[in-house]
């Protein structure tokens, strides 16, 4: 899309905006025009933050890298075709066997990997690195707002003023940093809620009229609650229509009861988020957290601790994909983690905090291609500080590419507002077709 010259093909919103600027059209007018573009208003983005430092070398094991098996020892994922082996992507990479649904998408060109991606943070601290991943800057605690919220600011300024247009939601009882900021967003998590016929919500809205925190939070919460009711009805019919239990483990030996239940819940969560996003006036942008990737000990290989978490992630993606239906074509999903883990297995059959990891990029409108970014290899000389997968791609480049080409955020906003002082980090081209 980025390479279409002006005047040919269907212009992107960004191009419409650029042209309207060139013609001296006011922002408001451009906003109306842009907002009236039915395609643009349908575009969706889901960012899944995998917290704890997700082991990229297990998400997309480079089974074809000659150094991989020796570095990993007992936690190496077996080669493609072997028992419990990686699900093949190309001659070097596979996907973890628990990522069966993701792999099925990859075979259709609807999922790709960025296997050596990192934030600008090199401290290997969970909290600092998560903060940098979410605040969009280069240092921890450098901003009180998240880059995804500031991207909404950029999109909404374009489409007609703050707090109009694009809506966003986090799947959590509390808002993660990535979505905190000036643009009001919703948050939702499964479980109970107020009945609309009760008096209390109305009484509290009056009581909160002058409360800058509780007033907006309650209003948003009540609106989301109403939406959740509709979404839940849709999910019920979806679950009824779906095959009994999705084979998320792809024929692997039966997982214990608890993880399988977790995967079913995750799939339902994905379906519900999809319902939120496809509802009339639904959410275009969502942030989701998946936790417990900090596998210092006994992380397992094809099965085990990490496999259980990946099966959960895969089931969530599967639910989201299924629930979005035709809207999948207009959706990009990105997974990201604060850092990868050490290339070598440690003394406790786990891995310690590392540097680069894998991001998954999924969606019905991806452009075809191999891995995103370069693979530095795991050769001894290539390891970062002789311990970690070396980063070859700044995570901000991937996010910028998606925001620009998929959601039409312009470069100037990306370089300053969304990712401050990042003009030397170019948006990655050709992620979406």
């Amino acid at each position: 899309m980025t390479n279409i010259p002006l005047g040919f093909g269907t212009p992107s919103r960004r191009q419409v905006f650029a042209r309207s600027l060139a013609l001296g059209i006011t922002l408001e007018f451009a906003g109306t025009q842009v907002f009236a573009d039915p395609l643009a208003a349908k575009r969706k983005l889901v960012v899944i933050i995998c917290r704890g430092g997700q082991d990229g070398l297990s998400v997309s094991p480079p089974v074809g890298d000659s150094a991989y098996a020796a570095l990993r020892g007992p936690i190496a994922i077996p080669g493609c075709g072997e028992t419990g082996g990686a699900l093949k992507l190309d001659e070097t990479f596979g996907l973890h066997p628990a990522l069966a649904a993701t792999h099925a998408l990859a075979l259709k060109g609807e999922a790709r990997i960025a296997p050596a991606i990192a934030t600008p943070d090199r401290e290997r601290s969970h909290f600092e690195a998560q903060d940098v991943l979410e605040n969009g800057g280069t240092v921890a605690y450098g901003a009180a707002s998240g880059w995804l919220n500031r991207a909404l600011t950029a999109m909404n300024t374009r489409s007609g003023g703050p707090n109009s247009g694009v809506k966003a939601i986090s799947v959590a009882a509390t808002a993660p940093l990535i979505l905190r900021g000036p643009v009001e967003t919703a948050s939702w998590s499964p479980g109970g809620g107020a009945e609309p016929d009760h008096r209390l919500p109305g009484i509290l809205q009056d009581l909160y009229a002058n409360d800058p925190v509780l007033g907006p939070a309650l209003a948003t919460g009540l609106a989301t609650q109403g939406m959740a009711k509709e979404a839940s009805a849709m999910v019920q019919s979806e679950m009824a229509a779906a095959p009994s239990e999705p084979d998320v483990m792809n024929g692997a030996s039966p997982a214990p009861q608890a993880p399988r239940q977790g995967a079913a819940d995750a799939r339902k969560l994905g379906l519900t988020l999809a319902a939120f996003m496809t509802a009339p006036d639904g959410k275009q942008v969502a942030a989701v957290s998946v936790e417990n990737f900090d596998t210092h000990a006994n992380q397992g290989s094809s099965q085990g601790q990490l496999a259980t978490r990946l099966a959960y992630l895969d089931a969530f993606i599967d639910g989201l994909h299924t629930g979005l239906g035709p809207a999948w074509a207009d959706t990009v999903v990105v997974t990201a983690t604060e850092f990868g883990r050490t290339a070598r297995v440690n003394g406790t059959r786990g891995t310690d905090h590392g540097t680069a990891s894998t991001a998954l990029v999924l969606g019905g409108g991806l452009s075809r291609g191999g891995i995103i970014g370069d693979w530095p290899t795991l050769a001894p000389a290539s390891l970062f500080e002789n311990r970690d997968t070396a980063p070859t791609l700044d995570m901000r480049g991937l996010f910028k590419g998606v925001l620009r080409d998929h959601l039409g955020v312009d470069r100037a906003a990306l370089d300053s507002l969304v990712f401050p002082e990042s003009s030397r980090i170019a948006p990655l081209s050709r992620i979406t077709a």
Binding site: R51, G52, G73, P74, E123, S125, H126, F127, E128, A140, S170, A172, A173, T174, A175, R180, A186, S187, W188, S189, G191, G192, G193, A194, H198, R199, L200, P201, I203, L204, D206, L207, Y208, V213, L214, A217, L218, A219, T220, G221, T224, Q225, S253, P254, P256, Q257, A258, N292, D294, H296, A297, V345, N346, G347, T348, R349, G350, D352, H353, E385
Partner: protein, 466 residues
């Protein structure tokens, strides 16, 4: 302090206590500082259970189930059957019975205590040294951890608290220290001969530096973390082989300790077995970085998300002057003028909200199976903080739309059960004292039912804050 005593009494009970219970504000108002100062107990915080099984007992129970699970898995491998579901049930039962009872007892103490500042202070330190139940085995050890390593030391020396936390089996398991083995130690050499790979795990060493003591701003490097992890090798948990008196307890295992001197943050530590890491902890506890890190965290927790720098400086000074005496630190917080700012700047966490609700209603939680899911729905699964950093306590983390909806839903259910024949406006005056605003009072007095009145109190802006 220029504010009137009624307001100060209500601040003492709500901001520094756990929310007023009964006529607590009236009691505190006579001498707000004195009421708090008498709660500082150098002997430690209160224990929530006197009948708690020991760590070795709980580890033994867990091992039994682990054994059963392994047998079931072997069965599964040969007969391609899923593990017997009762294994999973057994683990769930264990967590329900042990951790469930621990959590319930802890909540009941908070709901009933006459020394609520003492309890809040203990909860602060328990969160500072978070052990989370997200790793199955640790869930059952958090109760003993808090009672053995945290509560006895919260008004003692910080150094003792640090050592007690860092050597408790719960922490050693949670942050993987128990299995960390010096690569140059005899234990590693022997394991190597047997074809087993063992080695260093830097998890606990890193979190001690980053979270428990000096904080990231102290500017240590990856090399410092690794060196500290080497110094800590040998800090572990006794096994069956080491005898019944050692099993499930802290041991220093000399043959797993990495030999040699270490350099950490510019200081050299001669090899001295257990004493090596102990000496590092002594220096960490004495560091001005630790003083500042703790002072800022306390000021943030008790007073404001963005506390006055003068308060942080005052607390850090009290810490340094007293060589890390936490009773002195608590008294410094109580007597600081910044602590008594009239407007409530802190938004309650779900735990604080529920505890203060029980206190306002004069009730106590009866069944953990009813309480735990509610707190989880509000985003705070008790004994299961998302990371070693513990729970956040800032407004942005908790005042999210979904969280407010969940609080409102619980308030309605709770009020219906708890209000009885009592007048909600009286409950509001007792719960908030001079902090009750005319608007909230008017709204409560216009409620259609007593239960609705109590719900409005619990959801009022002044009750949600402290």
């Amino acid at each position: 302090m220029a504010y009137d005593k009624d307001l100060l009494g209500s601040i003492a009970a709500t901001r520094l206590g756990l929310g007023a219970r009964g006529d607590e504000i009236a009691q505190a108002s006579a001498d707000p500082e004195g009421w708090l100062l008498t709660q500082v107990n150098p002997g430690g915080a209160d224990l929530f259970r006197t009948d708690m099984p020991s760590v070795p007992e709980r580890l033994a129970e867990y091992r039994q189930i682990g054994l059963a699970r392994r047998q079931a898995q072997m069965g599964a491998a040969t007969e391609t059957q899923a593990p017997a579901p009762d294994v999973v049930q057994e683990v769930r039962r264990l967590i329900r019975e042990n951790a469930g009872q621990d959590i319930l007892s802890r909540l009941q103490l908070a709901a009933a205590t006459n020394a609520p500042f003492r309890e809040r202070w203990a909860l602060f330190w328990a969160n500072h040294f978070t052990v989370s139940g997200v790793k199955g085995i640790t869930a059952n050890l958090i109760g003993p951890f808090e009672q053995e390593a945290i509560r006895p030391h919260v008004f003692g020396r910080f150094e003792d608290l640090l050592v007690a936390s860092s050597s408790h089996p719960a922490m050693l398991l949670y942050l993987d220290q128990a299995q960390s083995i010096g690569p140059g130690s005899p234990a590693a050499t022997r394991a190597g001969r047997n074809g087993r790979r063992v080695g260093l795990n830097e998890n606990l060493a890193r979190e001690i530096l980053e979270l428990h003591t000096v904080g990231v701003e102290a500017g240590y490097s990856q090399a410092d973390v690794t060196e500290f992890a080497r110094a800590m090798t040998g800090w572990s948990i006794g096994t069956e082989r080491e005898g019944a008196d050692q099993e499930g307890r802290f041991v220093f295992r000399d043959n797993a300790h990495e030999p040699g001197a270490r350099v950490i943050m510019g200081r050299r530590y001669a090899d001295g077995g257990y004493d090596q890491a102990r000496a590092v902890m002594h220096d960490l506890a004495a560091s001005p970085h630790t003083a500042h890190h703790l002072a800022l965290k306390i000021a943030r927790h008790f007073v404001a998300d963005d506390p006055p720098p003068s308060l942080t400086a005052r607390l850090a000074g009290a810490y340094m002057d007293s060589q890390g005496n936490l009773a002195v630190l608590a008294r410094s917080l109580i007597t600081a003028p910044e602590t008594w700012a009239p407007l409530p700047a802190k938004f309650k966490t779900p735990y604080e909200f529920m505890v203060s609700s029980w206190r306002a209603a004069g009730t106590s939680p009866g069944e953990i199976a009813r309480v735990a899911p509610v707190m989880a729905s509000m985003g705070m699964r008790t004994f299961a903080a998302p990371s070693p950093k513990g729970w956040p306590d800032d407004t942005a983390s908790w005042a999210a739309p979904d969280g407010i909806i969940k609080r409102m839903a619980w308030s309605e259910t709770f009020s219906t059960q708890a209000v009885g024949e009592r007048d909600p406006l009286t409950l509001a005056q007792n719960a908030l004292g001079a902090r009750l605003t005319p608007l909230a009072a008017k709204t409560i007095s216009r409620a259609e039912t007593r239960a609705e009145g109590l719900s409005i109190l619990l959801m009022s802006p002044e009750f949600q804050r402290r």
